[in-house]
């Protein structure tokens, strides 16, 4: 056991850069996913059949195919097809982004649909343009509802990053694996990995809870002091419109 930790300390620069790769893949992957969630989710509500169709197809494809195979395809097959070679991290970012963007688009679509129709009607009665209605009335209310689901997806995305090991990206998983191979201490190595990913995931949860609290406060909803430490929001989603 002490073997493992002394190697870990000796190799600290590697471990640190491995952690950095994991964080990078998570942050960049989720930013791409967020972007795609909104693009695909808004497209799903378009009046144009073509736009809806494209969104649907992309979502179904990336939801319905394996993330492993997408990673392999991006890393090993795409260079043969196009001549472009992406770095392992970039492959991860693209695959994670597309996958979780597909899931996230359903979250966006659902949240937009859950904003009471009365809000849309009030915006029409004030003669707002469709874009103005979406940006100033519908999305700010839908956003609050998206956050808990986005938190789940974000943590799932983080937990997918060890797949980068398959592409020999020097992420945290890969670095710890190397140390395990060298010391033979599987138990400690994997326990350490479990703990590190848990800590990372919990940090993300806290961050997202903070975000949710700010978003709710903007709607004038009460936020209890304890809500920051909860792993997911338990109260029913806030709805706007009437004061029933």
């Amino acid at each position: 056991m002490s073997d493992f930790f002394s190697t870990l300390l000796d190799e600290f620069p590697q471990v640190r850069s491995g952690l950095w790769v994991t964080v990078q893949a998570t942050v960049l992957g989720s930013l791409l996913a967020l972007l795609l969630s909104f693009a695909l989710g808004l497209a799903a509500g378009s009046r144009l059949l073509l736009v809806r169709g494209v969104s649907r197809t992309v979502v179904e494809f990336f939801r319905g195919t394996s993330l492993y195979i997408q990673l392999f395809w991006l890393y090993y097959a795409m260079p043969q097809l196009t001549g472009y070679e992406l770095t392992p991290i970039l492959c991860g970012v693209v695959a994670f982004g597309l996958n979780y963007g597909a899931y996230g688009s359903e979250v966006v679509r659902g949240a937009i649909n859950s904003v009471p129709r009365a809000q849309y009607e009030a915006a029409v009665a004030l003669n707002m343009t469709p874009f103005h209605r979406m940006r100033k009335v519908i999305l700010p209310q839908a956003w609050v509802q998206m956050i808990p689901s986005f938190t789940n997806l974000l943590i799932q995305l983080l937990k997918c990053t060890p797949l980068l090991w398959l592409l020999s990206a020097a992420d945290l998983m890969t670095v710890i694996q190397t140390i395990r191979d060298r010391t033979g201490e599987s138990l400690t190595a994997y326990l350490t990995l479990l703990a590190v990913y848990f800590v990372l995931a919990y940090a993300l949860t806290l961050l997202m809870n903070l975000l949710e609290r700010t978003a709710k406060r903007r709607l004038g909803l009460h936020t209890g002091g304890k809500s920051l430490l909860k792993t997911r929001s338990a109260e029913p989603a806030p709805t706007a419109g009437g004061a029933r």
């Binding site: 009607e121 029409v124 004030l126 009437g242």
Partner: protein, 277 residues
């Protein structure tokens, strides 16, 4: 059960025949039909509203009163017929051959400029504070200067008796207060026509009188044309000059409040008034 009687109308309610009236009514429903599938909500409805008039629509639930307001606000599309507002078709455009076609979003936005609406459930935007609820559309739709819009919003809040609530969230207000803000929000767009859709139905009884009083003030002090769907017969009596009694998508009877409430001609009107008064 008035089965075979044709809807009664005042002469003024007929679609104007050319030459007989000099002034085009502000709102004219011309054989307006609204269907949901097989269900006919409005059946070749004709009626007019003059500029500055305060009209109350009464009648049993499902008689199509709210649908009329929703059609005027372009929240629904007519199935047939044409609604004219100030001489122009509300939700139609004239094609090159002179025929009327359903209007697109651009023309609808042009039509909506004249019309404002207050809803039963207030429908304030919960993501905006009270002041922004009122200034959002004047600033971003009318292009009004923000400071000017805020100044006017404060005046309107003063008018509705909520000058201290500019920075409150809608969720911190009572129903009556929310409805007052919603009225201020609609007035901020300076509509020529204000549609009031059962604006007191969702309020606690003790809050109703204040909102009605406010609307009465607005009716007396402005020249805004009002169409009001309400179950408050007192309001209909005190504020409006004309009451339209609806049943099954048709105007059964129309006239001054005194006439309708004291001497209704139609059996259906008598039944309805007996039930609600």
């Amino acid at each position: 059960m008035a089965t075979d009687s044709a809807p009664l109308k005042e002469p003024a309610d007929r679609a104007p025949v050319t030459g007989t009236t000099g002034v085009e009514p502000l709102v004219r429903f011309d054989k307006v039909v609204k269907r949901y599938g097989d269900h006919v909500v409005l059946d070749e409805l004709d009626f007019t509203v003059r500029r500055g008039e305060h009209v109350t629509l009464i009648g049993p639930s499902g008689s199509g009163k709210t649908t009329i307001l929703r059609l005027l606000m372009t929240l629904e599309k007519v199935s047939d017929g044409v609604i004219w507002v100030d001489g122009s078709p509300l939700s139609h455009v004239r094609g090159p051959d002179g025929s009327l076609r359903p209007a697109g979003e651009k023309q609808l936005r042009e039509s909506r400029k004249k019309i404002g609406m207050v809803f039963q459930q207030f429908n304030l935007f919960p993501n905006m504070r009270v002041l922004q609820n009122i200034t959002e559309a004047p600033v971003n739709v009318l292009g009004m200067d923000r400071e000017l819009a805020e100044g006017r919003a404060r005046e309107l809040l003063d008018l509705v008796g909520l000058s201290g609530k500019t920075d409150a969230h809608p969720s911190q207000l009572s129903g009556g207060q929310q409805q007052r803000v919603a009225i201020a929000r609609a007035l901020a767009m300076e509509p020529e026509i204000l549609l009031l859709d059962e604006v007191t139905s969702a309020l606690d009884p003790e809050l109703v009188a204040g909102v009605l009083e406010l609307l009465g003030d607005i009716a007396r002090t402005t020249d805004i044309t009002m169409l009001c769907v309400t179950h408050e017969m007192n309001f209909a009596r005190d504020v409006s000059e004309k009451v339209l009694m609806f049943d099954a998508g048709r105007v059964v009877e129309s006239g001054t409040p005194e006439k309708i409430f004291t001497d209704p001609e139609h059996e259906r009107t008598r039944e309805f008034l007996n039930a609600v008064l």
